[in-house]
Symmetry: C2
Subunit: 419 residues, 2 copies
């Protein structure tokens, strides 16, 4: 039996807003599954070697629950544009290039390596409309040790002439893609881009496939006011944006909806009642001036909230940066709410980027026994100190400041995938 | 005569919102002063060697116009606290440690090296209340090739028992410090911490010294609503916060005021009329939930606006990060202003971090002939590309994404100080 014993300061978020810290502790896994966190190595594991990271911080690794793989080449560009212009000027032309399998291979290989190096071990990811490139993406992620879901994008309207499918193609390519998916840790997820990009016929068929094959679904919801107006125009029969997904069977407790910036109380109730997952993408929402999602309110109302980098609306893959973006956005929101809503603390935002997504993958929050081992080991910054720092302080500094070179190791599904 | 010829894609901001780009150009300086930007090397310089950076970006280096050197050891900590609590819990105890000269030497050496490595070649910086540590800071900056101003902090109230001077000490130590300052590129600047920390008597005396010795002044203004209430209580005779500086002769066109988040139209008019400089510290204001300065409005009204990292309220020294923080803050402000004010573009925010500060140092915006050579050379990111990028696009990506390892060289006052 493969036993892994990781020594360091073990930090996890078993509950929203709470850290569990074991200083100089041992995180032990057997066959890739966590056994527990211990202050001393139990007798039964005494024969096994210890991976000793000394005084380093051992934390849960990240789940990036919304990002666009084919937008990786356009990171940090076009940030002065509003959503719909940005899509037409940068996004669609960039995604269209992934009809070239060789380019896709090169780009996705690099993306997968960077995700591993940054400690993101679970993803829910949009590919492009291309079936072959989507399979390449899945293979590259699998090879890099990343786990989770990937979706071939469906879009049969409003994409421009160089980046759109016919309804028939979209459906037949999706079915073919689903038949060809055969990976251990990367699974398919249905991915209608968003209502403005999908005809009713396509949505209907995707709803049917989702049900027939029991597949999870990801899309976008209420990101931007211009988008809301467009959806209203396309679906005069629907009072609210969410109904355009619900009416085609794309609205359930395995549905991820990115953004939900403008979801009002009634839409939030529909999200909660269906158990739909809200993916908060703060950096992207800031960059594209989409608005500030009422995350504190969502959490108080009992919605499932997780985090996404949303590259390339977001400008960085690192989930440390996306955690601080979520904190910042919640502080802006606090001011907009006339100081009536609390901002997210570091512990809370860390939870959203780790434990909050665990149930989506059938697991428990924190380093719970039975969970697959997903962990990062982070080295402290070497700044001069006026006194010894507590592990909590080191954790906060790490979230705010750690960048390249900070990761000593990354573990995914019990395997060391980086370091 | 010492001639320097730097080859690359030369980018500067000669006007607010405008970039001047010379692709594959030559930036030439003689005896540390810029001669011009050329598409070909003029005959008169033909004999001199070329520092060829190939396709890299050659830009103006940064001016960080507000930061606290002794807060360097507490970067990225206590970010969940409001200003006044944060000062008492983290800041004052940390600054108090700089009575230890050896610790000051070690910390300030590292800070000066990091500033150079990050391309910040001009600063206006707060030290602590300690005269000796302030001289150490100035020496370390000078040795690292950084230029600008440093101030020994004055505070004779509200600092807590371990971090405060008597009025007499504050004045006598300041005079002694001024007598001992003897550096080529780092000059002294009077630095009353802020009104809540300085008695009327101290302020009066500092105003007298400023006038007598013709010294520039730096302090804080209207950062936080709690602070505003405290100032009102301390100065019931003053209608507005700015008047507490003006009445002691600390309010003129060589005065830098950090923050000005809550400066209303009337206070902004007082700032403009006196030619006072507003230092916008977006990251700090976000972290401490101070609020969002109305930067667009300030610019439209004709105020001098420059940028500051404000470490350790700000969490990063890199001015690239502080530029994007200023952009983000202006986007939040746009939403708060009901979409009526424009956000800062990348070009505009870059100008604020470079050229906007030039007149404070007696220079012209951009790489103007006659200016001292202050420049950085930045390598592009190696992300896969779908097409060749324009220099403008590469510039934007660089501002949003460049981090460690990106700087190929940094020049300050004509000398290469990094790379």
């Amino acid at each position: 039996m493969e036993i892994r014993i990781i020594k360091g300061n073990i930090i996890s978020a078993p509950e929203f807003g709470k850290l569990d810290i074991t200083e100089n502790g041992y995180l032990i896994a057997a066959e890739g599954k966590i056994r527990g966190i211990y202050q001393k190595v139990p007798q039964e594991y005494a024969e096994h070697p210890i991976e000793d990271y000394g005084d380093a911080l051992v934390m849960q690794s990240f789940a990036d629950m919304h990002l666009h793989a084919p937008q990786y080449p356009m990171l940090g560009m076009g940030m002065d544009m509003p959503l719909l212009d940005w899509l037409n000027t940068y996004t669609f032309p960039t995604e269209a290039c992934f009809k070239d399998n060789e380019f896709a291979r090169k780009t996705y290989h690099r993306l997968a390596q960077e995700l591993a190096a940054k400690g993101t071990t679970r993803v829910c990811m949009f590919s492009s409309i291309h079936r072959e490139a989507t399979l390449i993406l899945m293979e590259e992620l699998e090879n890099a040790g990343i786990t989770g879901y990937v979706g071939k994008v469906n879009m049969d309207r409003n994409g421009g002439k160089d980046y759109q499918e016919t309804t028939e193609e979209s459906i037949s390519e999706t079915i073919k893609w689903l038949d060809e998916c055969n990976f251990e840790h990367i699974k398919p997820m249905l991915t209608p881009r968003f209502t403005p990009a999908c005809t009713d016929e396509l949505m209907q068929e995707l709803g049917r496939i989702a049900k027939e094959k029991n597949l999870p679904i990801q899309s976008h919801l209420s990101e931007n006011t211009g988008e809301l107006a467009l959806v209203k125009q396309l679906h005069p029969d629907c009072d609210q944006y969410w109904e355009t997904y619900e009416k085609y069977g794309l609205w359930n407790d395995r549905t991820l909806m990115a953004h939900c910036v403008w979801s009002d109380e009634s839409e939030r109730k529909a999200i909660r009642d269906a158990g739909v997952w809200t993916v908060h993408c703060a950096a992207s929402n800031e960059n594209l001036v989409s608005g500030y999602a009422p995350v504190r309110r969502m959490l108080d109302e009992g919605l499932n909230v997780v985090l996404g980098s949303d590259i390339a609306g977001g400008d960085h893959l690192s989930m440390f940066k996306n955690i601080t973006a979520a904190i910042r956005a919640s502080k802006a929101r606090r001011i907009m709410d006339d100081w009536k809503t609390d901002f997210l603390t570091v512990e809370e935002a860390f939870y959203l980027s780790t434990s909050a997504a665990a149930p989506f993958f059938g697991e428990k929050p924190g380093f719970a026994p039975g969970n697959s081992l997903h962990a990062i080991v982070v080295e402290d910054e070497s700044l001069p100190m006026v006194r010894p720092l507590s592990v909590e302080e080191r954790f906060e500094r790490c979230v705010y400041r750690r960048e390249h070179g900070a990761m000593l190791a990354v573990y995914s599904e019990g395997k060391k995938i980086y370091g």
